[in-house]
Symmetry: C2
């Protein structure tokens, strides 16, 4: 991805409620207990074009199967998300529960059938307490309000330590246009807990095919380039709704306007992705991996993932070790035929290995680079012009301790 | 692999020196310091057919490249192994160093050029101290003796906490035939330390093509089915030498005899693989994963590896959590299109999920199964008749602490 100039948008408050015509709420329906918020609703007063991106895990949770089928029509009015139980590995009963959740939202909001989307996050292998969920949906509909984003973003959290929402506004076609989003949880988390969930809202006027394309690319460059532990959830879901409220008469963006909107979307998803990694379980560092010199970008992603998912590399960064040999071994195990003769590694600003030769680098400088809160690794595999980046964390004893305990 | 009857061989002492005509030694050449043994030599008095299996990492260390090229001729008289430095990522200088090591062995043993094999294990990205290595080779040749296996196996250790050697004898063609082996280190280990190394010896008479085939299959079913941390070394090497000393006049094995020998070889490599996993860094449990119902065995291996390399699954086993949902998520992320409707999970003896339905299992029984020293997981993916097993460890905070410190 090329560097982008973001002069033309401004960050604003309001999360998913920032765009015109969106309301939200977050309530406690009793899955988490202790009065914790665990059911979120996002609603658009006007019909919206809608798209989704989902986990590639073949064991897709019931709400993922349900919502992805439903979104083939490309429109939606509401998204309901519960946290605490993922409705994953729940078979036909789980499929029915996802349907019932959607129907309850449609009935309470008095919107047409087929206009509610569903996502769940939490423990795998448990059935949803449907009575609580249905009461929660009633309450969430009652509570819908233009400042409901702050409760909604808390209600989707599982092991997140802080809520993650963002919004931006820009001028397009002489009008103020807004983008908002909320997200939770990076990668697989906690005892049987799964999932990253994000909901993106906008009041732009956009056709669903374009939105699908842009959302897919924005997710590929953000949420698909992060890892906390290499595990892939059964529930990962990103929804986007565009209600066109900024343009009551409709509007077709020019090329430059489209670029600005897409860049703002990428800034939004990219910033949330960084927040998810930084809040990863046990994470004490953000590690940015850049791979250059691949045959194409897809090959670069393979190599970047191999580095970003290597336990040994992640342990080294936790300990502040300049373990470039582990990076080389991870690259070599990626399946991409990299030769040591064409390989180089830069840690921070310091080149440590180049084209088959161990360089005489300043060890103190390299150690200082791996001891920072944000570590930068750049490798070149000397095969072509493809490149990619990937963001990961260190691996800490706290991660293991956290995931070896049943705190649910 | 089918269950095999091993009635017809007996375990004996002697490791790599158990077969007739093999001598060994282990000396301290000064890489590790403190007088620790760090250079091993295995020598056959008679010419031997020889084969090797190597890491599939594209960043192969210098001794791997050197020995694999050399073994294209299929014969060897000696194997030299140093520990402490892996001679990996060392470019042309490392390639020369591997050559010099082999030449020093050939010269000191007065054997023809091309008959010495080389392996190295230890830190990546450091050059070998060749003066020490060459003096060590002289000393190792002087020390060669029929009981040298006990020093040799210590001299190849890096972070192993105990030496691993095995031998067996059986009757073939009216003669006693022996197989011996030593091995070290499971998976990637310690700051920049790499590698499993194994050396297998036998006094059977066997042609090199058959030996390559059998060694490849025995390695596939043992060392290729274990993981400590999912990382793949740049140095993994398994050598096998067969000197025919049990049959001075030559001998061609019958089908039954060949089966017995191959089964004994599989017992040897399989037992060493278990020892490597059990001695994995920070490991407190052995986890045996069995996958049934795959389209073919190769697909089953993919699924078994995905379970065995999942950090979340391994953390759960460390904590004794019956986290079958994590197992399902790992299966779903394997790339194999498994449907929850055709999926089942058995933990220990207890089926917890079957064909889309969460079963009413005895939670105490499942918890007891995951709290044992050896945990058994069986999944069925309902696609065909392929199966595979995989052995892994739990993931402990100690693993992370160990690999975040520079103890080298």
């Amino acid at each position: 991805m090329q560097a982008m100039g973001f002069e033309s948008f401004e960050r604003i408050l309001g999360g998913v409620c920032a765009p015109e015509g969106f309301l939200a709420s977050g309530v406690s329906c009793g899955i988490k207990g202790d009065g914790l918020l665990d059911l979120a609703l996002v609603y658009t007063e006007k019909p919206a074009a809608a798209a989704g991106v989902y986990t590639t895990n073949s064991m897709k949770a019931a709400p993922v199967v349900f919502s992805s089928e439903r979104l083939s029509r490309g429109t939606a009015r509401a998204v309901v998300v519960n946290s605490g139980i993922a409705n994953s590995m729940t078979g036909r009963r789980g499929a029915r529960d996802a349907e019932v959740m959607a129907a309850a939202v449609e009935s309470a909001l008095d919107i047409p059938e087929g206009q509610a989307l569903v996502a769940s996050t939490g423990r795998i292998g448990e059935y949803l307490p449907m009575e609580k969920i249905e009461k929660g949906i009633q309450a969430a509909v009652q509570d819908l309000n233009p400042g409901g984003n702050t409760d909604a973003v808390k209600a989707i959290m599982t092991t997140d330590t802080y809520p993650k929402e963002l919004a931006a506004e820009m001028e397009i076609g002489g009008r103020v246009v807004r983008l908002g989003a909320m997200a939770k949880g990076s990668g697989m988390i906690h005892p049987n807990m799964a999932t990253m969930i994000a909901v993106i809202t906008t009041d732009i006027d956009i056709d669903v095919e374009t939105m699908r394309n842009w959302l897919g690319r924005a997710v590929e460059w953000s949420f698909n380039r992060i890892s906390v532990d290499g595990d892939m959830s059964t529930n990962d879901t990103v929804f986007m709704m565009a209600n066109g409220a900024a343009f009551p008469g409709g509007y077709e963006m020019s090329g430059e306007e489209a670029d600005l909107f897409f860049e703002t979307l990428c800034w939004l998803t990219g910033s949330l992705a960084v927040a998810l990694v930084k809040d990863g379980e046990g994470a004490t560092k953000l590690v940015r991996v850049v791979v250059n010199g691949a045959i194409d970008d897809a090959e670069a992603v393979l190599v970047a993932r191999a580095i970003g998912n290597s336990n040994l590399v992640k342990c080294a960064f936790h300990g502040g070790l300049p373990a470039w040999g582990r990076i080389a071994a991870a690259v070599g195990s990626s399946g991409v035929p990299v030769s040591t003769e064409n390989f180089s590694v830069v840690i921070g600003e310091c080149e440590v290995f180049s084209h088959g030769v161990i360089l005489e680098f300043d060890a103190a400088e390299v150690e200082s680079a791996v001891n920072r809160d944000e570590v930068e690794i750049t490798v070149d595999i000397g095969r072509g012009g493809g490149s990619a980046y990937f963001m990961t964390t260190d691996l800490s004893p706290e991660y293991v301790e956290f995931n070896a305990q049943d705190k649910s």
